[in-house]
């Protein structure tokens, strides 16, 4: 048996599928952002700006001039393109149009989390590059959130990989597709932990408010404070992709029904529509969560993330105790 994972690349056909995946994520991510914003506005009795607003923002930022802060190092310029590309690469690795994307063997779930961690580290470094109080604060706080959400993410991934025994995401999906899933307490706990991790990792309420620039509370925005024009657009676009990718991962692990096995054209269309439906529902739910909860005090954040970490570890343990 040939043990060369490169054989799954499938040449030009695989390339086409990969490009399709990347394009989908690149174009859908701002729309999803717009959708969440719209639902939020409706829930909060404001008139929505429409789901195209993030696209308009990005277009405006790309047209603008670039105002660079004095005393920046090359790191400051390199990080936004790197951050953006990491997310674009991650879009090639997460299955959503079919259960095994051509490039999936390049990175298993652990590597994927590692990629997100590279993105975060790069962003925090860029934030600390100037030595302004806000940048430092943002970078520091980002790591304070991440030191528990990252292990929690990994523990969730370990839990879902227990059925297949492999952290390769297609293998996990394959193990889920064997008939209807019975009720698994460990998966339920893992899903709860995933929601907490999702909010923490994507700078959403109640951890961070994406629409605030209040000095005492901001995390994500504090890191981006010195960016402007196209560089800011890359960072924002990257973050939108990250949100979408996390949602796609959640769909993969907790509501995987209907993801086509192969990349046949008919299945692709049907699966794509189903996926859009899931995304719209989950986006609306996210907006609901964000409208119901107030932002946590920054000192309480580690308690929130610790809950995620403990829940995810508990899910892992439960599998052995109840289901193993």
């Amino acid at each position: 048996m040939a043990l060369d994972p490169s054989s799954s690349f499938h040449g030009p056909y695989g390339l086409a599928i990969s490009l399709l995946q990347m394009t989908f994520v690149l174009f859908m991510a701002p729309l999803l952002y717009g959708w969440i914003g719209t639902v939020r506005a409706i829930l909060q009795n404001r008139s929505p700006a429409g789901i195209l607003q993030p696209w308009r923002n990005l277009a405006r930022l790309f047209r603008k001039e670039m105002i660079l802060p004095e005393g920046h190092s090359p790191l400051f310029l390199v990080v936004p393109p790197l951050f953006f590309s990491i997310m674009a690469v991650a879009a090639l690795l997460v299955p959503f149009l079919g259960t095994s994307p051509p490039l999936a063997p390049v990175a298993d779930a652990v590597t994927l989390v590692g990629l997100f961690s590279l993105a975060r580290f790069a962003m925090a470094m860029a934030a600390m590059d100037l030595g302004t109080p806000f940048g430092d604060m943002g970078g520091r706080r980002e790591m304070m959130v991440a030191f528990l959400t990252e292990p929690a993410t990994l523990m969730i991934l370990f839990t879902v990989s227990l059925w297949s025994g492999s952290t390769a995401i297609p293998a996990i999906l394959a193990s889920f597709s064997k008939g209807p899933l019975p009720f698994h307490p460990s998966l339920l706990i893992a899903a709860m932990a995933f929601i907490l991790v999702f909010l923490g990792e994507n700078a959403r309420l109640p951890i961070d408010n994406p629409s605030t620039h209040l000095e005492l509370t901001m995390i994500h925005e504090a890191m981006l404070l010195e960016y402007s024009g196209p560089l800011l657009a890359l960072m924002e676009w990257g973050s939108m992709q990250k949100l979408l990718l996390y949602l796609l991962l959640g769909i993969d692990f907790f509501v995987p029904a209907g993801i086509p096995r192969t990349f046949a054209l008919s299945g692709l269309l049907e699966g794509g529509l189903l996926l859009l439906g899931k995304l719209f529902i989950l986006g609306a739910l996210l907006a609901l969560i964000e409208s119901l909860f107030a932002k946590l005090r920054i000192f309480r954040v580690p308690e929130f993330t610790a809950l995620a970490y403990l829940l995810s570890t508990l899910g892992f343990l439960l599998h052995f105790v109840l289901e193993g």
Partner: protein, 682 residues
């Protein structure tokens, strides 16, 4: 194969050449200081030769022995070069090649006598550490081990001659000797259990005969524990780690790099050799594996939490070494657990992961210590809070340090990520275990492993962010300059090694496997096919795969065009402006985050790991003082009471010393009577 072309002979020649060159260099450099760079470069090449000689037995899986005259009566020097020794020689040679080249630049400003001393000390240290890897009997092993320990004592002493340095080196020596006694005791127990003790001769102290021991299960556990504590004292196993955070800051940077990169690994080598080869896998128990696993997990968490709290560059790195040794022990323990419960594949994988991490740590931690040395030289400061902004002043060495920082944080596509990935994959094999305790132990290990790795990212963002990024925080940092060419070359060598280990994991794993499979009698299947070498696929065909190389290719393909689109074309639409600082400019750099501000949430979140003293002034205090001291809890809870106890015992014993000869005569007389009566009884 003739004797003169046998791998072990070539290795000995390589080691001896290094020693002789070093000693000759020490003699010459004292009078002709200009030749120091020449000698360091030569030594660096000779280290590479040692690395090559270690690679030999890995590639050819050869196992050669050599018996040299000398030693003690009845036991001549037994030497052996097997793949495991070869692997550690490779580690020693590879890491020290970079460090020695770096030393050529680092010692430039030192007086000639000091340069000469440093040459002699490093080469003696490296030679005898190499000897430890080759020794095949108790006498030569202990001889090499002790000289290595003493050499490390002198290496630490080659820093500034201050009270702190002397104390640190003394403590190092003390713990090393305590450890050696335990190791010796373990060897003695092993030797007496192999044959009836009546026929115990000197020859039974060769490793070959020690392997034929028949230990009862309780004795096997005792011997393993003695080995763990004995080697642990030198590897920095908690609670015997207290010398590490003192010794590393005291020693000059290249010496710290060698101590952390090479000497800690010698202790790991000793432990693996003793457990797997001498005590023997059949006599180990799963519970000892669990003990090792839990110890490793605790060390990892303890080490990284304390690392985050440190503001001193090298103390931070020293605590992080405790974390990494913890990860290596975790992998080793996991390996024993799997092997003893009938999962040879998973066990082999875990052990490979542990050795891979040992190799990685030698490279990236060496690089970090060298980087810390350049930071300290450039600024004249040791505290991170007095550095800052160095990345702009020292772009080359800064970029090299950044690589090591990413690597130690386990971020892909670096070598640190590869070994942590392997460790994680081996913990995930826990579902094949049956016992609840065993599964929970592995689960606990996995949970701590991911937490420690995320915390490491936080700690090293602090290291790089406070030290290299931002604005200068002191006059020293404002006037910092890039380090010398030799220093950059040495660091570059280690960085190249790290890159190779990160991008071609399959090739490296294949060689490590050759060192591990004789211990576990199992081998892992290898990825095959045209691009099999580009993949890390330890458990094919269904197992997970990752490919740092393809990841890098994808990232580069995507980043470069974006970078060019955004920055390359629109030169006119760019302008500089003042960064936002709430309306005013801070040119002193004092409004930046301090190293302590990173530590604050950690201190609050994990209070049990620290012994903290805090004093908050009351609002009406006319002379308010804010005080916070954080300490390793082992000092107030373990070591200081222990020292007090020793002093109390010594003072009590002092009372029998009256100074009168008649009293002393009575002491001698009673002792004599007692001894005689004991003899009579038998």
């Amino acid at each position: 194969m003739t004797f003169f072309s046998s791998p072990i002979f070539l290795t000995l020649v390589a080691l001896l050449t290094l020693l002789l060159t070093g000693l000759a260099g020490a003699g010459v450099v004292g009078r002709r200081p200009a030749l120091a760079s020449f000698f360091f470069t030569l030594l660096s090449l000779e280290s590479l030769a040692i690395a090559l000689s270690g690679l030999g037995p890995l590639v050819a899986t050869s196992d050669t022995r050599l018996i040299l005259p000398g030693g003690i009566p009845g036991l001549s020097f037994h030497l052996r070069l097997d793949p495991l020794s070869g692997f550690f020689l490779l580690l020693l040679g590879g890491a020290s090649a970079g460090v020695l080249l770096f030393s050529a630049g680092y010692t430039k400003g030192e007086p000639p006598a000091k340069k000469a001393q440093f040459l002699a000390k490093t080469t003696v240290f490296l030679f005898f550490t190499g000897g430890v890897f080759l020794a095949d009997d108790v006498y030569s092993f202990m001889l090499f081990w002790e000289i290595m320990a003493v050499a490390s004592f002198f290496l630490i002493l080659s820093g500034e001659n201050t009270e702190g340095v002397r104390r640190a080196s003394y403590l190092t020596l003390l713990l090393a000797h305590g450890g050696s006694l335990l190791i010796l005791a373990a060897f003695a127990l092993l030797a007496t259990r192999e044959i009836p003790s009546a026929s115990l001769t000197m020859a039974s102290f060769s490793f070959e005969t020690l392997k034929q021991n028949h230990l009862a299960s309780g004795e096997a556990l005792l011997v393993s524990l003695l080995f763990l504590l004995g080697f642990g004292a030198k590897a920095g196993v908690v609670p015997l780690h207290v010398w590490l955070p003192l010794a590393h800051p005291a020693a000059p940077a290249p010496a710290s790099a060698l101590l952390s990169g090479v000497m800690l690994k010698a202790a790991i080598y000793g432990l693996i050799r003793a457990l797997f080869d001498l005590v023997g896998l059949p006599q180990l128990t799963p519970s000892f594996g669990i003990l090792l696993l839990v110890t490793g997990a605790f060390m990892a968490l303890f080490g990284i939490l304390h690392a985050i709290l440190q503001s001193d560059t090298k103390t931070l790195l020293a605590y992080s070494s405790i974390e990494n040794i913890g990860l290596i022990l975790l992998g080793t323990g996991l390996g024993i657990l799997y092997l003893k419960t009938g999962h040879p594949l998973a066990g082999t994988l875990a052990l490979c992961a542990a050795l891979y991490h040992a190799l990685n740590h030698a490279f990236f931690k060496g690089l970090l210590f060298l980087g810390a040395g350049t930071m300290i030289h450039a600024t004249g400061e040791t505290n991170l809070n007095r550095m800052g902004g160095l990345f702009k002043k020292m772009p080359v060495s800064g970029a090299l340090v950044l690589l090591a920082v990413l690597s130690i944080s386990g971020i892909p596509p670096t070598n640190g990520f590869v070994s942590e990935w392997l460790l994680l994959q081996s913990t995930l094999q826990a579902r094949d275990l049956s016992g609840t305790i065993q599964r929970s132990a592995v689960l606990f290990g996995a949970a701590i492993l991911v937490l420690a790795s995320a915390l490491a990212a936080m700690g090293f963002l602090k290291f790089f962010g406070v030290g290299y990024l931002g604005q200068p925080r002191s006059d020293g940092a404002r006037e910092a300059h890039e380090c010398s060419l030799f220093e950059r070359l040495g660091m570059g060598g280690l960085a190249l090694g790290s890159l190779f280990l990160g991008l071609f994991p399959s090739l490296v794993l294949g060689e490590i496997l050759k060192a591990v499979s004789p211990l576990t009698s199992t081998t892992l299947p290898r990825p095959s096919g045209a691009y099999g070498w580009a993949w890390l696929l330890p458990l094919p065909p269904a197992g997970p795969s990752t490919s740092p190389l393809f990841l890098v290719i994808l990232l580069v393909i995507l980043t470069l065009p974006v970078l060019w689109l955004v920055l390359g074309t629109e030169e006119k639409k760019r302008r500089l402006s003042i960064p936002w600082g709430c309306g005013y400019r801070d040119s002193s750099g004092r409004s930046q985050a301090t190293a302590e501000s990173f530590a604050q949430p950690i201190r609050h979140f994990f209070p049990v790991f620290f012994s903290m003293k805090r004093h908050l002034p009351s609002p009406d205090d006319p002379d308010p003082v804010f005080l916070l001291s954080v300490e390793d809890p082992h000092w107030p809870l373990l070591y200081r009471p222990l020292f007090r106890l020793f002093v109390a015992i010594a003072e009590g014993a002092e009372r029998v010393r009256s100074g009168r000869i008649s009293i002393y005569l009575i002491y001698s007389f009673t002792t004599l009577i007692l001894l005689l009566s004991v003899l009579r009884w038998h």
